[in-house]
């Protein structure tokens, strides 16, 4: 589904990602761990194609096509969908104005979709203006459920969501990724995803297949998501960094 090869990225002349290679297979739920400032959000933003993130070398392939230079909307049309952590406010543009463009095309019932996640009254509100943390997540998920991508980029879906709303957000994500069917890991019917998480809370809702740890802008390790999360929780990120350093020395 997604293949990243030796990616180097800078923002305003400052290198953020170096030598990043990773793959996400069809139907795979992939987790991205890493300390603050490791470059996790930068990686998702680069995959989506935001212009601030300048690729200095390396390639991104999606569904077998080179999208390294593709504009954002092309990537969206090919099936990439992002749930941003801090999307911008757009004053004067109602959530309905944006969503109707897509629902008209696909003959979806917007009211019904919004009602199912208790977002009906938000349709008349300006996009993200005055939304709480949980409301931003639900708005992003409503947009994604209209967009129906094949590959989900989820940037910390649990951040800013209180425990009560976490179940709602978690279950919505599960429903989107499982493509409405009950699903387990490596189910080919599932939508692929790359999910950033700090706390691992989202793993209660997703059967994750694989995880990468990103440190200092580069991939340090990969492995079983639950095992890696356990290690991070007991030993922090140091252990992983150390193991990588040793590996490099041995090589």
């Amino acid at each position: 589904m997604l293949q990243i090869e030796d990616l180097y990225v800078e923002v305003a002349g400052r290198p953020l990602l170096k030598n990043v290679s990773l793959t996400v297979e069809k139907g795979e739920t992939t987790i991205l761990f890493g300390p603050n400032g490791a470059g996790k959000s930068a990686l998702l933003s680069t995959i989506m194609g935001f212009s601030n993130y300048k690729i200095t070398s390396g390639k991104i392939y999606f569904k077998g096509k080179d999208i390294t230079e593709a504009p954002i909307n092309e990537r969206a049309k090919m099936g990439i969908g992002i749930m941003s952590q801090r999307p911008p406010n757009i004053a004067g543009v109602k959530l309905r104005d944006l969503l109707e463009i897509e629902t008209h095309k696909n003959l979806l019932n917007l009211e019904e979709m919004a009602r199912s996640i208790d977002m009906e009254r938000f349709l008349e509100r300006d996009i993200n203006v005055g939304f709480s943390g949980g409301e931003i997540k639900r708005s992003e998920l409503l947009q994604l459920s209209v967009q129906r991508p094949d590959f989900y980029l989820l940037d910390e879906p649990e951040s800013g969501v209180d425990p009560v709303n976490m179940a709602q957000v978690g279950n919505m994500i599960r429903k989107l990724i499982c493509n409405k069917k009950a699903c387990t890991s490596h189910d080919p019917e599932r939508k692929a995803s790359l999910v950033i998480t700090h706390t691992g809370e989202i793993l209660d809702y997703l059967d994750a297949d694989k995880a990468y740890i990103l440190c200092n802008g580069t991939v340090m390790c990969s492995g079983n998501p639950n095992r890696l999360l356990k290690e991070i929780k007991t030993q922090g990120y140091d252990e992983c960094i150390r193991c990588k350093m040793n590996l490099t020395q041995i090589q």
Partner: protein, 410 residues
């Protein structure tokens, strides 16, 4: 004898006012009045449905429908009244000259909110004995269906001078939609529109003006508004189509306790045009309130957004908001908000912001599959609609056209 005396007085007044025929306006570029003439051409129709189809279709561009279903209609073509009709009880619509003949008391409203000596434009309108609309709602009458008025220029190099009076009597309510436009083919013209609006105690007036001029038309509206106790005036001004220059700065005088005035402006400055637009509100009684909001875009022209709130009584509230976008390197924006207080316990604020379309907003919408133009259109439409609640569908198309033009040019 009495008549002679009044004639003499009239002559004296005319002489005095004629001294202002060369007086330049405080704002706005110089317009040479000699380049324009008062045209003779006029049209007259019994019913709006009798208008020819070209005029009808032009009218839809300024939100005026000629289907004859409006609560009232007024149409002026060049300097003569073409049509006037009222379909509602308690609503009077006639030409201002007819009204002056009918009502002696109209003298108390005649050129009382706009001084004929203000500048050469007002002086010229006065000296031309200009006609225009007289719209009056009788006390306690709530007009449910909006009145449409239309000022159309149909002759090349025409000087259109108009004098309008609106009176909303005590407890009455009225909505007026005014469309100002040039008729198919007219390129150069000057429009001078003098409007005097009176909102009596607890009256309510919503006045929306949509301009659709041509690239070489110069526009000098002169408006005065008086609002009494508990009265409410909402003034919407929309100008998205090209014009050579517009200079307008309506003044509202809030004279009664709790009177309120809202001014909303959305405008686009096309290449080589100058839009000098403002609103001035005098809060002359306690608990009066005003909000002046403007959203302007330049795609190559010059925008000057003025706003003045003058607090002359205690416990008044005023807020001014000028937001501008510069979408073309040749465009310019200047915001001049001003607050003035001559009393204690006033609350007056302003904010002004000039900028460009935020890249992160465009890209965010693009992640949902919109292309760059679609995303920009949506954002600009949002920017403008934040200026006026509920932009009519027809204007949305105009905005999309403008965005497309801007995108093509860049």
């Amino acid at each position: 004898m009495a008549e002679n005396k009044s004639n003499a007085k009239d002559k004296e007044t005319a002489e005095r006012i004629s001294k202002s025929l060369d007086k330049e306006a405080m704002y706005g570029g110089h317009v040479d009045l000699k380049l324009y003439h008062i045209p003779d051409e006029s049209i007259e129709v019994k019913k709006m449905t009798d208008l020819d189809s070209i005029i009808k279709s032009s009218l839809t561009n300024v939100g005026i429908s000629a289907d004859g279903n409006a609560g009232g209609n007024f149409l002026m073509y060049n300097n003569k009244v073409s049509h006037r009709s009222s379909a509602q009880e308690g609503l009077e619509i006639m030409s201002v000259k007819e009204a002056r003949e009918k009502y002696d008391w109209l003298e108390d409203y005649w050129w009382k909110l706009v001084s004929p000596e203000a500048d050469k434009y007002t002086a010229r309108s006065y000296m031309e004995d200009s006609d225009g609309y007289f719209i009056r709602v009788l006390p306690g009458t709530k007009i449910t269906s909006p009145v449409q008025s239309c000022l159309m220029i149909g002759s090349e190099e025409a000087l259109q001078t108009v004098h309008n009076i609106i009176i909303v009597e005590e407890g009455a309510e009225l909505e007026v939609v005014t469309g100002c436009l040039t008729h198919d083919g007219v390129q150069r013209a000057l429009h001078i529109g003098v409007s005097e609006m009176y909102v009596k105690k607890n009256g309510k007036l919503t006045f929306s003006m949509i301009h659709d001029w041509d690239e070489s038309v110069e526009v000098r509206p002169r408006t005065g508004i008086r609002i009494e106790e508990g009265g409410l005036m909402t003034n919407n001004y929309v100008c998205l189509k090209p014009a050579k220059s517009i200079q307008t700065n309506p003044s509202a005088y809030l004279e009664g306790e709790g009177a309120t005035a809202y001014f909303n402006t959305i405008a686009v400055a096309h290449p080589d045009s100058v839009l000098d637009m403002g609103s001035r509100v005098f809060l002359n009684a306690s608990h009066t309130k005003t909000e002046i909001i403007s959203r302007t875009i330049t795609i190559g022209g010059e925008v000057i957004s003025r706003g003045d709130i003058i607090g002359n009584a205690p416990e008044v509230y005023g807020h001014l908001e000028c937001n501008g976008l510069v979408l073309n390197e040749n465009g310019s924006q200047k915001a001049i908000p001003a607050l003035e207080a001559h009393a204690m316990d006033v609350e007056m604020t302003h904010e002004a912001a000039i900028g460009r379309i935020a890249r992160d907003q465009v890209e965010y919408l693009m992640t949902r599959g919109l292309d760059e133009n679609e995303a920009t259109s949506l954002i600009v439409r949002g920017f403008l609609s934040a200026g006026i609640e509920g932009i009519p569908e027809i204007l949305k198309e105009d905005i999309d056209d403008i965005i497309k033009k801007t995108a093509d040019a860049s």
